[in-house]
């Protein structure tokens, strides 16, 4: 039911964990099914230099979280904000239609982290 890319990221997730001195932390959750993601970012000169995640969720949620961190590293904040759940799912070769809602977690995580970053007012 899942693409090989999804299975790869599910079995070998990239960038799992926390960043102790993170510049931004975003929490996202699906209130209905309970899936939860924590995204930590290290940001230098408006550019994401490191990203780590923790996710409680299904394979689709874990794989999109993992793929998201790969996409984020090296991006500017402005670029990161263009990421959508469709773009993450697309980068994994797609998700089954019924599982698309699981990928929303990733896009929400980025927005939450950026909001946290701006709140901290880094200059």
């Amino acid at each position: 039911m899942y693409t090989p890319q999804v299975m790869d990221h599910f079995q070998n997730p990239r960038n799992v964990g926390d960043i102790p001195d993170a510049d931004a932390v975003g929490l996202a959750g699906n209130p209905v099914c309970g899936d939860t993601m924590k995204l930590s970012l290290k940001i230098v000169d408006d550019r994401i230099v490191d990203a780590k995640f923790r996710t409680f969720g299904c394979a689709a949620a874990i794989a999109t979280s993992s793929k998201l961190t790969e996409m984020l590293i090296g991006q500017t904040i402005a670029e990161a904000l263009t990421i959508t759940n469709e773009s993450v799912a697309g980068a994994l070769g797609g998700l089954p239609q019924a599982k698309m809602h699981c990928s929303v977690l990733a896009a929400d995580g980025v927005r939450a982290a950026v909001a946290d970053y701006r709140k901290r007012d880094h200059r």
Binding site: F10, Q11, G34, M37, K38, F56, A59, A60, A61, I62
Partner: protein
């Protein structure tokens, strides 16, 4: 890779003896059981023999057993058939919150048709309180439908007590016995059952065939109209291979039930003990003792269910989950939520259901992989075991 099947509550393989019994009815004995010629008559007698075999499993008379396409159709026929036939007497139906969707959605459909349905709660072990049934019956109540044993957690309901209450109040009593038939003793008379549903593929028979027991004198209307089949209760040419298969499966289940139940209980208890010993922060769902022999439902705090079953599947082990992500719906299992589990804890549940071919070696194999899988998922989880404990103080059990 050695594959281990631990999902017998979902479906079972057809037993070789059952398949053997079925094969002639695809070939030389293909006749329509309703035809009066020799071809038809060669199929008629075996259908009636199957009816007697199914009746024996239920402690029923053969004339009160009718073949259907499966458990779902049996539930639909029993519930809608009794509801429509008794509309003049009343329009109230009582069921529980943890029924199979075949029952729940039939009841929800009837609500749209103007019927009133009470969905009784269950306690933290999944038991319906018979006193709740007694309190809820009114002079408008026409049907009580409470399952014999739950498919997800295995809890066995006090059907005899509920049946007696319904009988005393002149209300028909239906029980969905799809999971219990062949695993638990069933006596429709002693248990005051008026209608009962069973399915072929849950007891090593074929898919696409089931039966409904309807006590003589129960007012019911047919829901599929057509020719004069199955005592005018269920129209449609008899599925002779399926019916013969169901009959054979019922016969074998009746003979072997006790030994089989013992085998399943031993394996289930072994796995349960080892899980509790070797993995921290887990919760066994369902009643500790009043439970189907082979059913074990466990929540693994902070490790999500679909991720657990997918990880086990990669090791060749097939189980299922009450996680929303495996059901196509957004919400986790209605059964686990009805027990009072927090949705996030419900999301971590896995159901192991043993069958006749499972061995202790299968349990060993599960335990070789599962602790590692749980640890891996917990290590990447956004929830921590500790957080969950505080959040779900009392571990999500409703007071």
């Amino acid at each position: 890779m050695r594959r281990i099947y631990l999902d017998h509550n979902a479906t079972t393989p057809v037993r070789p003896e059952v398949l053997e019994a079925m094969l002639p009815f695809f070939r030389e004995r293909f006749g329509n059981a309703s035809s009066i010629h020799a071809f038809g008559q060669a199929a008629r007698a075996p259908v009636e023999e199957a009816r007697a075999q199914a009746a024996r499993l239920l402690g029923a008379r053969p004339g009160e057993v009718f073949f259907t396409s499966g458990g779902t159709e049996s539930d639909n026929l029993a519930i809608k058939g009794v509801a429509y036939a008794n509309r003049g007497r009343g329009s109230h139906i009582i069921t529980s919150q943890i029924e199979h969707h075949a029952v729940l959605n039939s009841c929800q459909f009837l609500e749209q048709e103007g019927f009133t349905v009470t969905y009784l709660p269950v306690d933290s072990d999944g038991l319906v309180d018979p006193d709740d049934v007694a309190r809820t019956i009114t002079d408008r109540t026409i049907l009580v439908s409470i399952m014999h044993a739950n498919n997800e957690i295995g809890t066995i309901q006090p059907v005899e007590e509920i049946g007696r209450i319904a009988r005393e109040r002149g209300v028909f009593f239906h029980t969905d016995a799809v999971q219990s038939a062949g695993k638990l003793p069933i006596e429709v008379d002693a248990m005051y059952i008026d209608l009962l549903s069973i399915s072929g593929h849950k007891l090593y028979g074929p898919k696409g065939v089931g039966a409904v027991y309807i006590r003589k004198g129960t007012q019911i209307v047919q829901t599929a109209h057509g020719g004069h089949h199955e005592g005018d209760v269920r129209a449609g040419t008899e599925n002779t291979p399926g019916i013969v298969g169901l009959g054979k499966a019922a016969e074998l289940a009746f003979i072997e039930r006790e030994a089989e139940a013992q085998h399943l209980t031993q394996l289930r208890d072994l796995l349960q003990r080892r899980l509790l010993d070797e993995i921290d922060d887990i919760r066994v769902n369902g009643h500790p003792t009043r439970r189907l022999p082979g059913t074990l439902n466990v929540s693994f705090t902070a490790a999500e269910g679909e991720s657990l079953i997918l990880s086990l599947d990669l090791k060749g082990i097939a189980v299922s989950s009450g996680s929303a992500c495996t059901s196509g719906s957004l919400e986790p299992s209605h059964v686990l939520l009805a027990l009072g589990l927090d949705p996030q804890l419900a999301q971590t549940s896995v159901r192991f259901s043993f069958g006749r071919d499972n061995t202790r070696e299968d349990v060993e194999d599960v335990m070789e992989h599962l602790p590692e899988i749980v640890a891996r998922l917990r290590a990447m989880s956004a929830l921590t075991v500790k957080q969950e404990k505080i959040r779900g103080s009392g571990f999500g059990v409703r007071g």
